[in-house]
């Protein structure tokens, strides 16, 4: 028998045409059809030491599901995914696989790694089309009640895991739709909202109750969740919800947005459909987005789709230091985003109607590495220049939302307002209160929040069974 030869590169992902998609909110990556998925799955050599699984924050049995795809057992593959990950269609789209499972792939040592993320997405989407359901019977009801605050990736993961263990779970969401950043932050063209709805429906089918329009800290405090509503444990996953603006002149002009506002208007409120939807947004013709992360990429690509003739990405370091996924940077460039590296805003200039006329920037050069190990940008004296724009969007990171810490004085937070929680368990210093996701770590990724949810679910389960058990040691974050 001839030795099996391995295809050196991934089966390429079918993409919508760059010119057409740059003006459309339809999804960019179209997904593998069945035959391409099977072909890609066959690239997996089923190696013994399964390094990919160690790279997965939620420990999916990756070799098994890929083998099932190769064998065309798609239902089996779906069950394998669902066993560890209740949001596979979402993770298949937005996880940074290149830093996680795929970074560890044995094939990837000499060739491109197996396209694990694309296969995950394929299985989830296929399952939705043919209506596979995860019919694993839930554990018998335990009678315990857990409140989950926030319905983003961390909250949904905790909710699903605890519900499967037989606990009663209620998720409180402040906005009118569940999903957190999956709904208000990540745009339709990268993660269709119908997919988020579909995966959340899966959670309600296994008994998770979701209450929208409940702003914990206001509608009920954390203490009231225990004392008045009778929950035995609370998991706080409110995300990184406070925008930051630089202290420069002109920051409150009309046309200056936080990425949160710009994206929320477009994604949650569907401002791109205005006036069919009621929420407007400024459809700038020349838009500058400040930042270099995934949120900045989402914002600048949204600007194109809202009709910008020029969509600039202004970043103070170089392309190599951008925290965004390479795939997102490439997609943005293909669509016509103009990247201005080594520049930072120093002022926003106004017209006579208090609207943005231009942004003043200063050129930067890279100096010594900073605490993050990246070379820090240093302003070059006298290098200021003006860029004519009518809209400016800041995607330069997030602070912690104050609503819970303001009303929960005995919940310790760090100097940035992030909740102090044990990395392994999510336990806080307040009995029965756990936390995870961006409210603990500051802005991170969907999958790391899900990983925190997964670990916290185990700890909450243990706590419910034995509330007096100690041993949680919150570490300084």
């Amino acid at each position: 028998m001839a030795k099996k030869t391995i295809q050196k590169t991934k089966v390429p992902m079918p993409l919508a045409d760059a010119h057409e998609r740059a003006r459309s909110f339809e999804e960019v990556a179209l997904g593998y059809p069945v035959d391409m998925a099977v072909l890609e799955a066959q690239r997996c050599i089923q190696c013994k030491n399964i390094p990919c699984v160690a790279g997965c924050p939620v420990e999916i049995d990756i070799p098994l599901f890929i083998k099932q795809v190769a064998d065309r057992d798609f239902e089996g593959a779906f069950k394998t995914l669902m066993d560890r990950n209740v949001l596979p269609a979402i993770c298949g789209r937005v996880c940074p696989q290149e830093e996680q499972c795929e970074a560890k792939c044995t094939i990837g040592i000499k060739n491109e790694p197996v396209a694990i993320g694309r296969l995950e997405r394929f299985v989830a989407d296929y399952a939705a089309v043919v209506k596979f359901t995860d019919d694993t019977p839930p554990s018998p009801p335990t009678g315990h009640k857990v409140a989950v605050v926030g319905s983003g990736p961390a909250g949904l993961t905790v909710a699903a895991d605890l519900a499967k263990m037989g606990h009663g779970v209620t998720v409180f969401e402040a906005l009118h739709k569940p999903g957190g950043v999956l709904v208000y932050g990540i745009p339709e063209f990268r993660l269709p909202k119908s997919i988020v709805e579909r995966e959340i429906e899966g959670l309600t089918r296994i008994g998770v109750e979701i209450k929208t329009n409940h702003v914990i800290g206001q509608t009920f405090t954390v203490d009231e969740l225990f004392s008045e509503l009778g929950f035995e444990a609370v998991f706080i996953a409110t995300g990184a919800g406070l925008p930051t603006f630089p202290r420069i002149p002109g920051i409150n002009l009309i046309g200056v947005y936080s990425a949160n506002e710009y994206l929320t208007r477009s994604n949650l409120m569907k401002a791109y459909q205005f006036p069919r939807s009621d929420t407007p947004t400024i459809r700038g013709t020349r838009v500058a987005v400040i930042g270099g992360g995934n949120t900045a990429m989402d914002a600048v690509r949204t600007a194109l789709r809202l009709g910008a003739e020029h969509a600039y990405l202004v970043y103070r370091r170089t392309r190599a230091e951008m925290p965004a996924r390479l795939e997102e940077i490439e997609h943005a460039e293909e669509e016509g985003v103009e990247i201005m590296m080594l520049a930072a805003p120093t002022a926003i200039l106004s017209d006579e109607r208090s609207r943005v006329r231009a942004i003043r920037c200063i050129r930067m050069e890279l100096g010594e590495p900073d605490a993050s190990g990246r070379r820090s940008p240093v302003p070059m004296k006298g290098s200021e220049f003006d860029l004519d724009v009518d809209t400016v969007v800041f995607a330069i990171g997030q602070g912690a939302n104050p609503l819970i810490r303001n009303t929960t004085p005995d919940l310790p937070v760090n100097k940035w307002g992030n909740i102090l929680a044990d990395d392994g368990t999510g336990a806080t210093q307040k009995p029965g209160v756990f936390a995870g996701g961006d409210i603990v770590t500051g802005g991170a990724t969907v999958i790391s929040a899900m990983g925190a949810g997964r670990r916290a679910a185990r700890a909450i389960d243990a706590y419910l069974r034995n509330p007096s058990a100690d041993g949680f040691s919150p570490t300084d974050v």
């Binding site: 009118h176 603006f245 409150n252």
Partner: protein, 282 residues
């Protein structure tokens, strides 16, 4: 979903609703607001909670029909439902006990002043209320406020009711009469609040204003409601809605309120056309 229990017209284009909302009624304190989304394509709009009825688990909202969203809201009737209602949001009014306070409401701002006046009165305050409107038809909540206030003065721009003039004229007269207010609270259109501050600033009277900027989520997430207070950036939804009026940059806020003027007019025009088409004889 929140059922509308009752609806009454208080003034032209100004409606008072009582709406089911037991969780909100239970928690709400004077000065707080809710985010309302009336329909599936609707905007999230902030509205101050004008009153509560804990027995019925209901809150009252006073809505002025200005743009599409508020006009649509005002077209709803008793028995209809409001899709989304979230709250209570914002920080409550600070009502130290035994305060001699002058609460000033202009137009729809009177509905915001009412719970604030109640809050001070409940803590043995001496409460003077000044309410103003363009003309008699636009003076709202007079009876309700009269029941709370130690003294109440109504002003109208055209003199068709109460005293002719602006609320600031009444405030000046009260001060000239020897009323030494510990605090003035002013809620109404921005030019009115600015005018009140112009009166109180030279006299050093602490002055609180309640702001109503453009808002999206109302939970601190978007920063759209940012205002400059004493040179610092503050978010009205989580740091407010009430601020030290002597420190607020009203001109900047006035400009920011115009951000979506053109879109708002377009949406209203389309809405009016739709309403007209529905009402046209077939």
């Amino acid at each position: 979903m929140h059922r509308i229990l009752s609806k009454e017209v208080l003034a032209p284009d100004v409606v008072r609703f009582w709406v089911e909302g037991p969780h909100i009624a239970r928690k709400r304190k004077p000065g707080q607001f809710v985010i309302v989304r009336a329909s599936d394509e609707g905007e999230r709009i902030p509205l101050t909670i004008a009153d509560v009825d804990k027995g019925r688990g209901a809150i009252s909202l006073v809505v002025q029909g200005v743009g599409k969203s508020t006009r649509y809201l005002n077209s709803l009737s008793e028995g209809d439902v409001i899709l989304d209602l979230a709250g209570p949001l914002g920080r409550p009014t600070r009502t130290p006990p035994g305060r001699k306070v002058c609460c000033i409401g202009g137009g729809i701002g009177t509905a915001v002043v009412y719970p604030i006046a109640c809050g001070f009165k409940a803590l043995q305050g001496d409460v003077t209320v000044v309410i103003g409107g363009r003309s008699r038809d636009f003076v709202i909540l007079e009876q309700e406020l009269r029941a709370v206030a130690d003294r109440l003065i109504v002003t109208t721009d055209d003199g068709s009711y109460g005293e002719r003039g602006f609320v600031t004229d009444a405030l000046r007269a009260l001060i000239a009469d020897g009323h030494a207010f510990d605090e003035v609270v002013a809620v109404g259109p921005l030019p009115m609040m600015k005018a009140v501050v112009d009166v109180t600033r030279p006299l050093g009277i602490p002055t609180t204003v309640s702001l109503n900027p453009v808002m999206v989520d109302g939970t601190g997430m978007c920063g759209g409601c940012r205002v400059s207070v004493g040179g610092e950036q503050r978010f009205v939804c989580v740091d407010g809605p009430e601020f030290d009026g002597l420190q607020v940059d009203f001109d900047e806020l006035q400009a920011r309120l115009r951000a979506y003027r053109e879109q708002e007019q377009e949406a209203l025009r389309l809405y009016n056309d739709q309403v007209a088409a529905c009402q046209a004889p077939r």
